[in-house]
């Protein structure tokens, strides 16, 4: 295949990006990777298009070249393309380098046995060092960006294969210290820091000499072998990093085993100092990376005081740059008191509180800083590790600006509310200390306003959700403080009174909060519901609520509420809700009055399903003692002793309402042909393996060759009992064979409704044949000739050889073509006329039959049926 045009590629890339998995599963998927590599060398495509092809290989190498050999071949091809580029400026060199790197790593091909790796690594190192690689590598104006790219590629390789550049540490240090014209500092610094950090981790595991690594000058020459020893020592796989955060176990930090000698320590310090000294030349995000990497590298190393970082900190504390402040926090976590005195800690906290509310910063930044405050790495943490808490040095005074208010965005409100709750918890411990408005009072007012806002009818659900989230947060943080929980309980009850439609939120809330709030809230909500008149328009919500909160207490009020409600439960949904509430009472052990209610319901409810359930509950109530009832109605199946139909009732109820997908106990087949009526009719035979009720068969015609078919309903089918054949009238849109896709929906004897996909049924070409009306006796020949002549010139004539089986022509005709014969001279000559709905006709002359076959002359006014007729006639002999 030749190269594709720009438009074709644009289309193909668009289709791929829309859904890579679907595209790769499709017919074009297999060739995509190969075509892409080929077309990169095509001279017809513009550089712009090629860049977009490379962009795809940068993003989806694993889909394009899924295994290591394919990746290796692809990387080789990319490198070849790079070498073959003409020596003029080109936008392809950088992406080609990036793509080769990506493909090797993503395909898992990077390693000492990979030819492409052995080509790529020296090439990258050569470019990075600014070596002259010959004219093939573009004009000098491109050298600097290529140099930077080469460093980035090396860093990515080092990140994915730690230790890969361990042998180049000395070389890289030399480059960074170089005077005079220099390469880009940022990528070099980051690469050195990454390699240094990885070398330290590996060294701690394998015990290689650090000093050698740091001081040995380039042992690599352009053609020399690459040093893979460190990657082997580091294990060929990446290891999950020892987290730099103190919350994680200190022992796991891979570096603690490392005891550098004084010389080694000196070299290491020099290398780190060198990196930090030039760090101001890096972009802020790159500076942050450098600090994280060096923090990781030095953490836990004995004899490495972190004072080296100190000069950087003063500069960094003033900024609001998210990455920089985060990196400072990482250093704080890594080194603690060794780097930050108590005063420093206080200052850092102060800066964080300022940043967490500064009006010039965006909301996501505020929220992240708030998170940092609650997870602040303190020098002397008091509480348990891993839990959010207010730092000791964060005085309530400092938090004044961080209090939540209704005007805040929901996320900010929740984050600030959490802080407020923590303050309240502290306040509760040291009561009577505060002056001014206490945080608790503030919290109470805030919750009240949140409830008021949630009560607004027609307000968005998000407001209600926010109110419950806030309540949940308070209930969790302040579970032991009744002074907070009591007003909260009453506030929520009021909210329910104002807006019963929030019942699902209340049920969810009750399911999640602890008993400190859950139990009193349940009681007041129950009172709230049962004090309503039964015919309230919010009855649906009250019943839903009652199903959750109903209990033994206040049973007479509850029962009379339900009694009153029953009269208003006119539809199925309401009746079910009512029964759920009854069931909750049943479970709670309410007896006396409930029996009367259930009995009344079993008579009174309109819906038979509702009546049945009420009766069942009544019987259960009358016959089972409390514990057995709980087991019978409980959600557990783990009690086989009682696993009778009673337990199944509980499970089965939900199942009965759902349609289950099941293998079909139904077999359909096409019966004998019937040539009657104005349209072709398919005769279907139905067999079942078990009794099936209310069967509905839905048909879909593939390729839309026929008009859509109506569904067929059969009330009942039993195995062994012959069923009437189903007649399925077809309305073809074209005379061509097709298939029927069939789905069945039916009810099993157990009452479950099931759904099944049956095997498709073929509609053969011959199933569409219809006879012409019989001409009067004797006029057959004239009628046939008239038809015969009318086919031309619009139609077509053809001659075929129809093989005859051992039975001869007569048997063949009587078996297959009988209804269509117009003129017959048995046993040698037949004239056959067939109507092909919707508008076509097919005429056959079978004359002068011979031993093994008969020549057929056919005419039709629709040439598209010719191949179908050919297949049909040839197949006849076999089918006799």
């Amino acid at each position: 295949m030749g190269p594709l045009s720009r438009e074709t590629w644009a289309q193909r890339l668009g289709a791929f990006r829309a859904s890579p998995s679907a595209f790769m599963a499709g017919p074009e998927g297999e060739d995509l990777g190969g075509d892409l590599l080929n077309d990169l060398r095509s001279e017809k495509l513009s550089e712009q298009t090629k860049v977009s092809l490379l962009a795809l290989s940068l993003e989806y190498p694993a889909q394009l070249w899924p295994d290591a050999p394919a990746a290796e071949a692809a990387a080789t091809s990319l490198l070849d393309t790079l070498v073959l580029l003409p020596p003029r400026p080109s936008a392809l060199r950088r992406p080609l380098l990036l793509a080769a790197t990506t493909v090797l790593v993503a395909g898992g091909a990077l390693g000492p046995t990979s030819g492409a790796s052995l080509r790529l690594l020296p090439l990258l190192l050569g470019l990075a060092m600014g070596r002259d690689l010959g004219r093939g590598f573009g004009p000098s104006s491109e050298q600097r960006p290529l140099q930077a790219t080469a460093y980035e590629c090396l860093r990515e390789l080092e990140s994915c294969k730690p230790g890969l550049l361990g042998g180049c540490l000395g070389l890289l240090r030399g480059l960074l210290g170089q005077e005079g014209p220099v390469g880009p500092v940022q990528p070099l610094s980051l690469l050195l820091a990454q390699a240094l950090r990885n070398a330290l981790v590996i060294q701690a595991r394998a015990g290689a000499s650090l000093q050698d690594l740091l001081t040995v000058k380039a042992s690599l020459t352009a053609g020399g072998p690459w040093n893979w020893t460190l990657t082997a020592e580091g294990g060929t796989h990446l290891q999950p990093q020892a987290p730099s955060w103190p919350a994680a176990e200190k022992e796991e930090c891979g570096l603690s085993a490392l005891k550098p000698s004084p010389e080694e320590a000196r070299e290491l310090r020099a290398a780190v100092a060198q990196l930090l000294d030039t760090s101001y030349l890096l972009t802020p995000v790159a500076q942050a990376q450098l600090l994280w990497l060096l923090g990781w590298a030095l953490r836990g190393l004995r004899g490495q005081p972190p004072v080296l970082f100190k000069p950087q900190l003063v500069r960094l504390l003033g900024t609001a740059q998210l990455t920089l402040l985060h990196a400072v926090l990482a250093l704080k976590a890594a080194f603690g008191e060794a780097l930050f005195t108590a005063q420093d800690e206080a200052l850092l906290l102060r800066r964080l509180t300022v940043a967490a509310q500064h009006p010039a910063l965006p909301l996501p930044t505020h929220l992240f800083y708030l998170h940092c405050l609650l997870n602040f790495p303190e020098n002397c943490p008091l509480g348990p590790a891993g839990e959010e808490a207010t730092p000791l040095l964060l005085e309530p005074q400092l938090c004044r600006g961080l209090l939540p208010s209704l005007l805040h965005d929901p996320m900010a409100l929740l984050a600030r509310l959490h802080l407020l709750c923590l303050l309240c918890a502290e306040d509760g411990e040291e009561e009577g200390r505060g002056q001014g408005q206490s945080p608790q009072r503030y919290l109470e007012e805030l919750l009240a306003s949140l409830q008021q806002r949630a009560a607004l009818s027609g307000g968005p659900r998000a407001l209600a959700t926010l109110c419950f989230q806030a309540s949940y947060l308070v209930a969790r943080c302040l579970a032991g403080q009744p002074t907070v929980l009591t007003p909260l309980t009453h506030g929520l009850a009021q909210l329910y009174r104002a807006r019963p439609a929030l019942a699902p939120h209340f049920v969810d809330f009750l399911d999640r909060v602890g008993p400190e709030l859950g139990e009193p809230l349940r009681v007041v909500l129950q009172q709230e519901v049962v004090s309503r008149p039964g015919g309230d328009e919010a009855l649906r919500w009250h019943l839903q609520m009652l199903a959750r909160v109903a209990d033994k207490d206040a049973q007479s009020a509850t029962l009379s509420f339900l009694q009153a409600a029953a009269a208003h439960c006119t539809d199925w949904g309401l009746q079910q809700a009512l029964l759920r509430a009854c069931r909750a009472l049943l479970l709670a052990g309410v007896r006396g009055g409930l029996a009367d209610l259930l009995q009344a319901l079993a008579r009174q409810l309109e819906d038979p399903d509702g009546r049945d359930h009420a009766r069942l509950y009544y019987i259960l109530l009358g016959h089972l003692s409390g514990p057995k009832l709980a087991v019978a109605l409980g959600p557990s199946l783990a009690t086989p002793a009682l696993a009778s139909s009673l337990v199944a009732e509980n499970q089965g109820f939900a199942a009965a309402l759902m349609v289950q997908e099941a293998p079909a106990p139904i077999r359909l087949s096409v019966g004998p042909y019937r040539a009657e009526g104005p349209t072709p009719v398919l005769q279907l035979q139905v067999e079942v393996l078990e009794p099936v009720y209310s069967l509905e068969l839905r048909f879909r015609v593939e390729g839309q060759l026929c008009a859509p078919l109506e569904a067929v309903h059969i009330p009942c089918l039993c195995p062994g009992r012959p069923a009437q054949p189903l007649l399925l009238p077809l309305q073809p849109r074209r005379p061509a064979p097709t298939q029927l896709d069939i789905r069945a929906l039916y009810t099993k004897p157990t009452g479950l409704t099931c759904y099944a996909h049956l095997p498709p049924l073929p509609v053969r070409f011959a199933d569409l044949f219809l006879p012409f009306p019989q001409p009067p006796e004797g006029a057959g020949l004239g009628f046939f000739e008239e038809l015969w002549d009318s086919c031309l010139p619009k139609g077509t004539e053809s001659r075929l050889w129809c093989p005859l089986g051992p039975w001869g022509l007569e048997a063949l005709v009587s078996c297959h073509l009988e209804p269509f014969v117009v003129v017959a001279q048995p046993p040698t000559s037949y004239h056959v006329a067939i109507r092909l709905p919707p508008h076509s006709r097919l005429l056959l002359r079978l004359e002068a039959a011979q031993e093994d076959g008969v020549p057929v002359v056919l005419r039709t006014d629709d040439w598209t049926v010719l191949p179908l007729v050919g297949d049909y006639l040839r197949g006849l002999a076999a089918a006799v």
């Binding site: 898992g108 990140s159 220099v182 990093q241 890096l282 996501p364 004044r400 968005p460 309540s471």
Partner: protein, 434 residues
């Protein structure tokens, strides 16, 4: 520290999907690491379609929030940061950094270099802040100068090339994408001195430094004896330094006017090389007293090429520049409103423009307005339920202006009229701008 993938999604309420993926970029080498680091808790990056659906659901940006849905509305499902867990194909993709700004959802998935169960705190994940900075960078680039859709599309089409420069392997090299664009364009030559990465080239020409100070006042006026009014100034100092040399040193010193209030909550640009500790600690949290540091505020720095915000600050003004009084009475279907504005004498009575917006929430469209203004004109936006009082460039000599009138509203139509959950009943506000 790297990003596994990044997306830009335009939020289009009312359409079937409620959004379209406008840009996405995946980083397979980072994905490779994620698989190793996360181990059994690894969840792959989904394709764009499922990601879009799941993200918009989590951010409540789908149109359908009519019914209670536990996975979104449960009280224990609490987000306190812009970092989410997304349900995708039965698993939960976490952490996803995402926020909505100007109709675009910015999202990325930072790499976590350890196992995800139990979830580590966000503060310990180095790539989280990088993810935020990445998204802010893209946001600045898209919206720095573009005003309309065509410009936005042009910028979106530049993104793939730009990220090849600023974030080739998922590790962000420069959040300032404009700088990356410039460095593509700058003829690259070897520099005799070390060139900072945040400066694409050097300036040649007449040396010139321009500084501008923008201040915004937020004020709450209660007109009540027992509640004190509050006001706060939010300021930004913007600089553009056209100076020769690779790293010229500049110091800008800000001093307060006589009786000016001290600057507080000062945040500086990362190019500032050192700061007085008094500047670092001055904060609006502290009670004001005379001992507060009152300048001069010195900022030594080495400027980047482009215009940048040298610092942000807040300050407490002694009096608000405009004192306002706004009253609203509901009488049947009519609202009676009265508004008085008074310009403080210390403010120069000369504006580019000055107007007051009077919005009405949770009501129908305005059907009828009768009003009297002592100065300026009133514009009525019936469908938006908004009045705009155009004051012009000057207050009258008396420095006081007033508006009174009655407004009648039509029937409420939930979809069209502005909704607000604060401004219900007689709660309302008036906003002045100049």
């Amino acid at each position: 520290m790297a990003q596994r993938a990044v997306w830009l999604i335009s939020h289009e309420p009312g359409t079937p999907l409620c959004g379209t993926v406008r840009f996405s970029r995946r980083y397979p080498t980072v994905e490779k690491r994620a698989k190793v680091f996360n181990g059994a808790s690894y969840v792959p990056i989904p394709e764009d379609g499922p990601f879009l659906k799941s993200l918009l659901f989590e951010l409540r940006l789908l149109d359908e929030d009519k019914d209670f849905e536990e996975s979104r509305d449960s009280c224990s499902h609490i987000s306190k940061t812009s970092v989410y867990g997304l349900k995708v194909g039965g698993e939960e993709l976490w952490p996803v950094v995402a926020f909505l700004k100007n109709g675009i959802v910015y999202a990325c998935v930072p790499l976590v270099e350890q196992t995800l169960s139990p979830r580590p705190p966000l503060i310990s994940i180095s790539a989280i802040s990088q993810g935020f900075e990445f998204l802010f960078g893209i946001q600045d680039f898209l919206h720095s100068s573009s005003k309309n859709d065509t410009e936005l599309n042009t910028k979106l089409s530049q993104l793939p090339d730009l990220l090849l420069q600023a974030c080739p392997f998922g590790t962000l090299l420069d959040a300032n994408l404009q700088n990356s664009l410039d460095s593509i364009n700058f003829a690259s030559v070897s520099h005799p001195q070390k060139q900072p990465a945040w400066k694409a080239g050097t300036y040649k020409g007449k040396p010139q430094v321009s500084i501008s100070i923008t201040e915004k006042v937020n004020s709450m006026q209660y007109d009540k004896q027992d509640i004190a009014d509050t006001w706060q100034v939010i300021g930004a100092v913007t600089c553009k330094c056209d100076l020769e040399g690779i790293m010229p040193n500049v110091t800008i010193s800000l001093s307060l006017p006589t009786n000016g209030s001290p600057l507080q909550d000062i945040l500086v640009h990362p190019c500032v090389t050192s700061l007085d500790s008094a500047i670092l600690t001055s904060s609006s949290i502290d009670a004001m007293d005379d001992s507060a540091f009152s300048g001069p505020y010195k900022f030594p720095f080495s400027p980047p090429l482009e215009s940048f915000n040298l610092c942000y600050y807040t300050s407490q003004v002694p009096v608000p520049p405009i004192l306002g009084f706004y009253q609203m009475n509901e009488e049947g279907i009519q609202l009676k409103i009265t508004a008085n504005l008074k310009l403080h004498e210390s403010v120069k009575n000369n504006f580019e423009f000055c107007e007051a917006h009077i919005p009405f929430y949770n009501r129908g469209p305005i059907t009828h307005v009768e009003y009297k203004v002592s100065f300026g004109q009133l514009e009525v936006f019936r469908e938006k339920s908004l009045l705009i009082w155009i004051i012009g460039q000057k207050f009258p000599k008396s420095m006081e202006i007033s508006l009174s009138g009655t407004v009648t509203f039509g029937a409420k139509n939930h979809d069209k009229q502005p909704f607000d959950h604060i401004c219900t009943g007689n709660t309302a506000y008036l906003k002045t701008g100049n």
